[in-house]
């Protein structure tokens, strides 16, 4: 009897704790949503929503004032491409680092480390020149390439970490079954590290989605601008278009969370079942 109650209380605590934390994390976003529906300056409002005062005016304005759909398209194209390319390339490199000890492994690792260690603005100025000479300014490949370079280092690191956690016996067994090394990568390691890969895909996506400085520098025309850069337009020197900015941000933020939730279930379900006991 006692144990059952104890278990129940523990469960309640766990859920309550999780909900509390989520509320804390989410509070500013809640506020963002509220402000977008109130359409006005945030400061004056109270925290409790008043459904009667809600209006979608700010949302409509966003579409009216800016080429929002174009920007959205740009952000999606850039982010998705960044994600796919990064994970793909990173997978190969992580596999090489985790499973092979080749000459230059240390050097390569060092290079990855160095790649992330430079402040973006110093990188951006010569990069701009370079991309300009390559004819990649204001193009999708230009920004995607740059984003992938930003995403690769940590993607490789993280995947390496995940790959390491997979016992080698599995691959040796596969080898004895005649599977090639590439085949092993795709058929054994990939599925087993699915949750890790999903995480890395998410991170690469977020990186592409929220990249500001590189996007600002590389996309020079109105039609190629991404969402993060476009958001700055609602912040004028004197005043901020609060309602519109909040609506804009809500439309930028919520769908990503939705996709993440949906993708989670798809990618991770059932993948961890069937792991061999180590």
């Amino acid at each position: 009897m006692n144990y059952r109650i104890y278990r129940r209380i523990k469960t309640i605590f766990i859920y309550a704790g999780a909900i509390l934390v989520c509320m804390l994390m989410v509070f500013p976003i809640y506020w963002m949503l509220l402000s977008s529906l109130r359409g006005g300056s945030i400061g004056a409002g109270s925290i409790i929503p008043d459904p009667e005062s809600f209006s979608l005016l700010a949302y409509k304005n966003v579409f009216k004032m800016f080429p929002f759909v174009t920007w959205y398209k740009n952000s999606v194209i850039v982010s998705v491409s960044t994600t796919v390319l990064s994970v793909f390339i990173a997978m190969f490199s992580a596999y090489s680092m985790a499973r092979f000890s080749f000459r230059g492994r240390g050097a390569f690792g060092l290079a990855i480390l160095i790649s992330q260690a430079l402040p973006t603005i110093l990188l951006a100025i010569p990069l701009f020149s370079l991309l300009s000479k390559m004819g990649l300014l204001n193009t999708y490949p230009g920004l995607i390439l740059s984003n992938v370079a930003r995403a690769l280092p940590f993607s490789i690191w993280m995947l390496w970490g995940f790959f390491q956690g997979i016992p080698r016996e599995l691959e040796e067994a596969a080898e004895m079954d005649g599977l090639s090394r590439i085949g092993t990568l795709f058929r054994i390691i990939f599925p087993l590290s699915a949750s890790g890969i999903a995480a890395v895909m998410l991170f690469a996506f977020v990186l592409g989605w929220e990249e500001y400085l590189l996007s600002l520098m590389i996309m020079t025309s109105d039609t190629m601008t991404t969402l993060t850069v476009g958001a700055a337009r609602m912040i004028g020197g004197q005043s901020v278009l609060w309602g519109e900015l909040m609506a804009y941000s809500a439309m930028m933020t919520i769908p990503v969370a939705f996709v993440f939730v949906a993708a989670q279930r798809y990618l991770v379900s059932g993948m961890t079942a069937g792991a061999i006991k180590s």
Binding site: I125, M134, L216, M217, S221, I235, G237, Q238, V240
Partner: protein, 436 residues
């Protein structure tokens, strides 16, 4: 094995090939590019309309692109460094256009500027940057906005339109206007406020204090060069007086340090302060945001002066410049002239951007600028433009100062460093930068 290698190689090649394939972009007609930073989205639309009309008239395509002010400096620098710049740049006294000129990155337009243009532009147009930049908007600065109603309540009489208070009169008035009704040590109404210290804007906030006391950051050394102005007593007095507003007289709220305009706007709306130092261009924002009427809800007075100070005001400008690396300089200039010489276009542009006065005589004659509700331009500005001066050297070195001088200034005003110490330190910084 060979198959794997081929796959890898193909992958690599396709990445490279994809990148390369995007290389070519031939343009057959003349296209000029213009980068602007005018904030209201309507301005972007207006410029695009101009571009369309221009194309109809001349067949030249103009591509308009927008860069927000906050990032204008970084992106323009990257472009200059790469040699790939737009043909027309929109610069501003605040954003360091003088520094581009100093670098040699902007074209001297002396050969391009027509007599007609010289006729049309206001006399002070070329004072700051010579023929390297063509101003199209002006922003009168160094004004103090005040609330007539609050003044009346406190029994304070503002100075007459053509005159300025002395510093002591100003402080006295500010004290009367600082009201702590519930005696909790936190006044509900502050006598004075000024904008926070961030970047270039800080220069506009701070320099008037120096000028009010007859001091300056740098002064001509009489031999065509510059010397530090901070080793004079007047400079110490000026900054001490400014710091005293917070620490001794207590007429200015300490937290203004982190204020930007949005915070100031909110404070204005909540009647937080009776006086606010800002550029006159703010009038339109206040009108728009709170519907405040000039003369009734707010008015403008000149910055106070001390006995050895000058009466002054100054203007900053929005400029068009043509980078040296532009490949279409003549076409670019023609487009600029096409906009500037048309009073309607100039006036439209000026109205959209917060009613900043345009820089051509014909555009200034537009009824919108002598409108009843905006006597600012006719009365105040006309009076003050007699006192107008610019910050030529200031804008030239503004970038350096923003990083080195302003933090020290902050420390002084918040009481973390003594005035003498701080001014001496700033002085040595200036000297170091001037190579002295």
């Amino acid at each position: 094995m060979i198959r794997k290698m081929t796959v890898m190689l193909l992958l690599a090649l396709s990445v490279i090939g994809g990148i390369w394939a995007n290389g070519s972009n031939e343009k057959k007609d003349i296209t000029i590019t213009m980068q602007h930073s005018m904030v209201p989205p309507e301005a972007n639309e207006l410029l695009k309309q101009f571009a369309e009309q221009y194309k109809e008239e001349t067949g030249v395509t103009v591509e308009i692109s927008y860069v927000p002010w906050e990032s204008q400096r970084a992106t323009t620098l990257a472009k200059i460094a790469s040699g790939n710049t737009p043909d027309i740049l929109h610069g501003n006294s605040n954003q360091g256009t003088a520094e581009w000129v100093e670098m040699g990155a902007m074209t001297d337009l002396a050969d391009f500027i027509s007599d007609e243009m010289k006729e049309e532009l206001i006399p002070t147009a070329f004072d700051e940057l010579g023929t390297y930049a063509i101003p199209f908007l002006q922003s009168p600065e160094a004004a103090i906005f005040y609330r007539p109603a609050l003044f009346e309540e406190a029994g304070v009489t503002p100075p007459a339109p053509g005159e300025a208070w002395t510093w002591d009169e100003f402080v006295e008035a500010a004290k009367k206007l600082t009201i702590d009704a519930d005696g909790d040590g936190e006044p509900e109404q502050w006598g004075f406020a000024e904008r926070g210290l961030s970047g270039f804007i800080a220069m506009k906030t701070y320099i008037p204090h120096l000028w009010a006391f007859g001091a300056d950051i740098i002064k001509p050394d009489g031999e065509g060069g510059w010397k530090s102005g901070l080793d004079e007593q007047a400079a110490v007095d000026a900054i001490a007086a400014q710091a005293a507003l917070v620490t001794e007289d207590k007429v200015m709220k300490p937290s203004y340090l982190s204020w930007g305009l949005p915070e100031a706007m909110r404070a204005w709306g909540e009647n937080d302060m009776a006086m606010f130092a800002c550029g006159m261009w703010w009038a339109d924002s206040v009108k728009e945001e709170y519907g405040h009427e000039f003369g009734k809800d707010f008015d403008v007075m000149a910055f106070p002066v001390s006995e050895n100070g000058n009466e002054f005001s100054f203007s900053t400008f929005d400029y068009f410049t043509i980078p040296t690396t532009s490949k279409n300089k003549e076409e670019a200039y023609k487009f600029i002239e096409w906009i500037i010489l048309d009073p309607q276009r100039m006036a439209d542009l000026a109205v959209i951007d917060n009613y900043l006065p345009p820089t051509t005589k014909s555009a200034l004659a537009d009824p919108r600028f002598s409108d009843e509700s905006f006597p600012l331009w006719s009365e105040r500005f006309a009076l003050w433009s007699d006192w107008s001066r610019f910050m030529p050297a200031s804008s030239k070195y503004a970038g350096m100062w923003t990083s080195t001088i302003i933090p020290i200034w902050e420390e002084i005003v918040t009481g973390r460093r003594s005035v003498e110490d701080g001014v001496a330190l700033m002085d040595s910084e200036i000297k170091a930068q001037l190579g002295q």
